[in-house]
């Protein structure tokens, strides 16, 4: 695998996670439990989709086959999407969305901190920019985890269930293969396995403070997203997201 191929795939992975998560977050627009949270979730959707756009623009440039960011977003099918399954699950209730935000943004923050010495200047710039945003996402979801976990009996039970249900999707955060090996040797990517203990520490600290139980790490863990094997939910999401550009592929706006 060449460096170019590896970098293209790596950028797609980062972009797909953020585009799909951003889409799920955008589904809250107009449906948030209170106005401030509606705005907050829409803001975070925007951060993710905007960041995904930059990543896809760069991915298209690296691929150098005449595609652009819109073609990568709107004209790839489910099997070509490389996001982890965690981000494609339906938005669920507010607690479920918050639990996913917490698990994902904690990882994204650590990942982008680790990319601070990335040898690719463009990727380094984009991730340094987004790191500041993920710190906000992390703080926001962390505060809600504590409030809901250490809240009423109802909120405690529901946030615990969300954490439990999402747990088997978290191992995919640390997925690595040849793509990562090639880029680690180029000092562009980092060894994600090295982030695992920090992620566990941050997650466990907050769950404890929220009086929540830490689920079993040894349970069955989902996999496949990075290789294009997805849950049934992604197809519906892409159907909605891609419908317009696919019906009117020449449309300009």
């Amino acid at each position: 695998m060449t460096k170019q191929e590896a970098l293209f795939t790596y950028l797609l992975r980062l972009a797909d996670d953020r585009l799909i998560l951003g889409h799920r977050l955008s589904e809250w627009c107009g449906h948030g439990p209170v106005l401030e949270e509606d705005i907050a979730l829409a803001n975070m959707a925007l951060d993710n989709i905007g960041h995904a756009t930059s990543l896809l623009t760069y991915a298209a440039e690296v691929e150098d086959k005449g595609r652009n960011e819109d073609q990568l977003a709107f004209f790839r099918d489910v099997r070509e999407y490389t996001n982890i399954k965690l981000v494609e699950l339906p938005k669920g209730d507010f607690g479920f969305t918050i639990a996913r935000q917490f698990l994902f943004s904690t990882f994204a923050m650590l990942h982008y901190e680790a990319l601070k010495d990335c040898a690719d200047p463009q990727l380094k710039g984009m991730t340094a920019k987004a790191l500041k945003e993920y710190r906000y996402h992390h703080r926001h979801s962390k505060q809600w985890i504590i409030r809901l976990g250490d809240g009423t009996k109802e909120s405690h039970e529901r946030i615990q269930k969300s954490i439990n249900d999402l747990w088997m999707y978290t191992n995919e955060l640390f997925f690595m293969n040849e793509v990562d090996e090639v880029l680690i040797s180029e000092k562009i990517a980092v060894n994600l396995e090295k982030l695992r203990s920090d992620w566990q520490k941050l997650v466990e600290e907050t769950l404890k403070e929220a009086t929540l139980e830490i689920p079993d790490y040894k349970q069955y863990m989902q996999q496949g997203g990075r290789n294009g094997i997805h849950t049934e939910h992604l197809g519906y999401l892409l159907g909605e997201m891609q419908q317009l550009p696919r019906m009117y592929p020449e449309a300009q706006w």
């Binding site: 401030e36 803001n43 925007l46 930059s54 984009m126 920019k129 500041k132 703080r139």
Partner: protein
């Protein structure tokens, strides 16, 4: 093409005429959004802009406004490039920009660089009555770059331009 190319100082002046679409009291130069302006070896003008936030929806509008301004000033061939090589920070906002923000009713970013961990603990003075009896309502406001506060002295909500 214009007969004599305007100097780079003049180009910066032209760019200072472009308003920020979300905060029209500020221009895109004061905001620190325009990072570079230069002529390349072929005498083509390049303008580098950088987003405040990754998902800032105003970026497309800003790019179009910059292009429109350059066309208006007689430029025909130029390139506006989105540049991520330097990461935008509120430190780049000029003092003048901070003063205008406050006058406009938005509490300016505090001078010290901060990270998100601190926002809830910081005291942000009310831009209307300068009271320090204010409280954070939400870290996310009407645009990505602002947080929502409430003043307990004059009982007004206000926005604070977050430090990043």
């Amino acid at each position: 093409m214009i007969d004599t190319m305007p100097s780079i100082d003049q180009v910066w002046e032209f760019l200072s005429e472009v308003e920020d679409p979300e905060i029209p009291v500020l221009n895109v130069v004061e905001m620190g959004i325009v990072r570079k302006a230069y002529y390349d070896d072929n005498n083509k003008l390049w303008v580098h802009i950088t987003p405040t936030y990754s998902g800032c929806p105003a970026m497309t509008a800003i790019e179009m406004d910059v292009r429109a301004k350059l066309f208006e000033k007689g430029f025909k061939e130029f390139q506006v490039k989105t540049d991520f090589s330097e990461i935008w920070t509120t430190d780049w906002m000029t003092h003048e920009a901070q003063r205008k923000l406050k006058e406009y009713g938005i509490a300016p970013p505090k001078a010290m660089p901060t990270n998100a961990e601190e926002l809830g603990d910081k005291v942000i003075p009310c831009p209307w009555c300068d009271s320090l009896e204010t409280a954070l309502e939400s870290e996310f406001g009407s645009t990505a770059c602002k947080a929502l506060f409430y003043c307990h002295s004059c009982h007004q909500p206000f926005e604070h331009f977050k430090c990043i």
